[in-house]
């Protein structure tokens, strides 16, 4: 990429990655840099506002939407390692701020340059990871918001196909919700549990060593359920595999940085 200016990417790490699995954030930085981007993590970010949005609390969501837009609108792109937070920015913000003369256009502009990371790498940067190896079998769960609101399905699979040694296995009901649903999983925990159990059964039935997904919320739900059931499936965010981090601890394994 000599000569051409490198696109400036603002990375929104998401609150779950920040607290529970920082290495997803570092994997994202690494991959974005490898793809030729200049990456920054704006310090004014907190949460995209999804918990408030889904609870019907518009006032707080609007505040967080404006705060996030203000923090990120100076970048060429906004990238997130989460389809559901990306969908909140791409669809939620413009809808929420549609009636606001000062903010509607800014929300649209922001939505237009916001991407979930695998779709950004594959579609925008035409990136393919080089020299990555993972000798294991893996299966992939299509997290709902990314899949249905942003059309993310082919991109992670295409990127994963460049990882040598990785054998991908189909997952029955790969596009069926895992029961996470943000606050749903604690508000209606009985129902969520029943859904998660079915998902875990499907994952176990693949016999794959690794379960992959693109949203940490869903991954935490599935990993937590699999562990409670005594399954040995290791769970990683897609970009952890793409950045070659599978030799380190999986979600819930001791020693994660």
């Amino acid at each position: 990429m000599t000569g051409e200016p490198r696109p400036r990417v603002g990375l929104f790490v998401t609150c779950l990655v920040d607290a529970i699995r920082p290495q997803i954030g570092f994997a994202a930085i690494e991959l974005l840099q490898e793809a030729g981007c200049e990456v920054e993590v704006p310090q004014a970010q907190t949460c995209c506002g999804q918990p408030a949005l889904n609870s019907g609390d518009d006032a707080d969501t609007v505040h967080l939407a404006r705060q996030t837009i203000a923090a990120f609108e100076g970048y060429d792109y906004v990238v997130l390692p989460s389809g559901s937070c990306a969908a909140t920015m791409v669809h939620g913000y413009p809808e929420l701020l549609a009636g606001d003369p000062d903010w509607a256009a800014r929300a649209h502009a922001m939505a237009a340059k916001t991407h979930e990371i695998t779709s950004f790498l594959a579609d925008v940067m035409a990136f393919a990871p080089q020299g990555r190896r993972c000798d294991a079998s893996a299966t992939y769960h299509d997290s709902c918001s990314g899949l249905r609101e942003l059309g993310i399905a082919a991109q992670p699979r295409a990127l994963l196909s460049h990882v040598e040694g990785l054998e991908m296995r189909g997952l029955a009901g790969n596009d069926v919700c895992c029961g996470f649903g943000g606050t749903f999983c604690v508000k209606y925990s009985d129902i969520s549990n029943a859904i998660a159990n079915e998902k875990a059964e499907a994952v176990e039935a693949t016999g794959a060593d690794i379960l992959l997904a693109g949203d940490l919320g869903c991954l935490m739900n599935m990993a937590g359920k699999l562990n409670r059931r005594g399954a040995k499936t290791r769970c990683f965010h897609t970009i952890e595999v793409l950045s070659g981090r599978t030799s380190g601890p999986a979600i819930g394994e001791e020693g994660a940085p």
């Binding site: 607290a19 508000k187 549990n193 859904i195």
Partner: protein, 472 residues
């Protein structure tokens, strides 16, 4: 009351989750429906354009509802039918019972109609001392069981074959000779035959009301609607006002979507248009035909953010593809309409205070909207109810407080980072190894699954150190 309504839904859901037979029954039916719909769509490449057309037809009608309803009324009257207007469920019940009582009806046969359930017709008929016989096989089953429908297409889908055999054994005289489906269906036929022929009034719903002919249209796979509506002296149709279509061609355009989405078929076995009562010289048919057009909240929806729900053609695809419905079944929803569409409609019908759990008990995964043949954005509408519920203060105070405190932090990045730093350190105290299996205030999570134990330092801490290191 909110306080009372919330545990009620959760308790019903809990009971449903604890019933393995129910789960088996739901899985069989919805699993089949899902497979058949997928196959039907694969063989129907023009689905997307048909869906766009269906959506456009419904939107057009909804935008000109008064025009088409008046046209329908004119043409129905011209065909000899009598048209009644009911503003709400009570009025609809009163009109139907009045017609039955005026005809001195002792026995009423009824063909499956969700609107009849919506307006509480079964109870109204019982209160009026009129015997009611459900003629749809599934409705017959749940009538024997004394239950309401649990699905809008398969009202008895919560019952396994084995349970149905038990019901028939107890409720049929003579009981069926064997438990194979053919013998049981034959037994139901024997039970119902005399009722079909001796009924004074037949009550049906309508899938479509055709404006330019004044006809009502019913689709079934058993032919029971024909037997319900033809032999009795009086035929009463109850239908929601949103069932209107401009013409027969429009009805067929929607029918193509309805059947594929509902059962995966291309056509129903029986598609019948009723246009007025028996005419001079006709061999059979009712002497009187009454059409009761029911509003019951629909014009209210015209004017608010739930307007798109009026497109619903009651195919049931959203519930068949819903993870929540597939765990708890239809009865747990507590309203006439279950699943995603029910979670939008029940607050319209029963009030939000009584049903605020329904729009909340959804993971927002969007699969319902993906399969809806008329493109109803169900998650968006459900969010609309959550918004109202929040605005009207119906959400539990614990949730409001929780979100409120969290938002106070999220609005202040520095404070938020500090709180995260402290938070992950405190969280770590509750786990050992890589997992937390119990933590105060996290019961909703840890009762059922483990929580990954956070590493000691947040991303932001580590990132800032890294940046500092780089600058030095």
């Amino acid at each position: 009351m909110t306080a009372a309504a919330q545990p009620a839904f959760k308790d019903r859901a809990k009971a449903a989750l604890a019933d393995p037979t129910l789960k088996l029954a739901i899985d069989r039916t919805t699993g089949n429906a899902e497979r058949k719909r997928a196959a039907a769509l694969a063989a129907f490449p023009e689905f997307e354009s048909a869906r766009a057309r269906g959506k456009a037809i419904k939107d057009h009608v909804v935008a000109h509802l008064d025009h088409y309803l008046e046209m329908f009324e004119r043409n129905a009257i011209a065909s000899g039918a009598q048209v009644h207007w009911a503003a709400d469920d009570a009025e609809a019940r009163a009109i139907v019972t009045r017609i039955c009582l005026a005809a001195d009806a002792k026995l009423v046969t009824r063909s499956k109609s969700m609107l009849g359930e919506e307006i509480g017709l079964p109870h109204a008929l019982a209160d009026a001392g009129i015997e009611r016989v459900e003629t749809d096989l599934a409705e017959h089953i749940i009538q024997l069981a004394g239950e309401p429908p649990s699905h809008i297409i398969w009202p008895a889908m919560h019952r396994t074959r084995e349970q149905v055999a038990e019901l028939f054994k107890a409720g049929h005289h003579p009981p069926p000779a064997a438990e194979d489906p053919a013998t049981m269906v034959q037994s139901a036929r024997i039970q119902l035959r005399a009722k079909f022929l001796n009924a004074d009034v037949g009550i049906s719903g309508a899938n479509f009301l055709v404006a330019d002919t004044g006809a009502t249209c019913t689709v079934t796979n058993e032919g029971n609607a024909e037997l319900t509506t033809t032999p009795p002296r009086i035929h009463i149709v109850t239908a929601g006002i949103e069932k209107i279509v401009p013409s027969t061609a429009h009805a067929f355009a929607l029918l193509r979507l309805l059947v594929r989405s509902a059962t995966g078929g291309e056509m129903t076995q029986y598609t019948t248009f009723h246009c007025g009562p028996k005419r001079p010289g006709d061999a059979d048919g009712p002497e009187e035909m009454h059409i009761v057009l029911v509003d019951n909240g629909r014009t209210r929806m015209l004017a608010n953010e739930f307007r798109e729900m009026l497109r619903c053609i009651r195919c049931g695809a959203c519930m068949n593809h819903c993870v929540v419905y597939r765990q708890i079944g239809g009865h747990a929803y507590g309203g006439t309409y279950p699943g995603p569409m029910g979670s939008v409609l029940t607050p319209v019908l029963d009030g939000l205070a009584a049903s605020r759990d329904l729009p909340n008990a959804c993971t927002m995964n969007g699969r319902c909207a993906e399969v809806c043949p008329v493109g109803i954005p169900l998650p968006t509408l459900l969010r609309g109810w959550r918004r109202r519920s929040w605005r009207e203060g119906l959400e539990p105070s614990s949730l409001r407080a929780g979100i409120g405190i969290w938002a106070q932090f999220a609005r202040r990045p520095r404070l938020y980072r500090l709180a995260s730093r402290i938070g992950v350190r405190v969280m770590r105290l509750f786990g050992k190894g890589g997992w937390i299996s119990r933590m105060p205030l996290a019961g909703g999570w840890t009762d059922y699954r483990d929580l990954p134990r956070p590493p000691g330092r947040t991303f932001m801490e580590q990132y800032r150190d890294q940046q500092k290191g780089r600058r030095q």
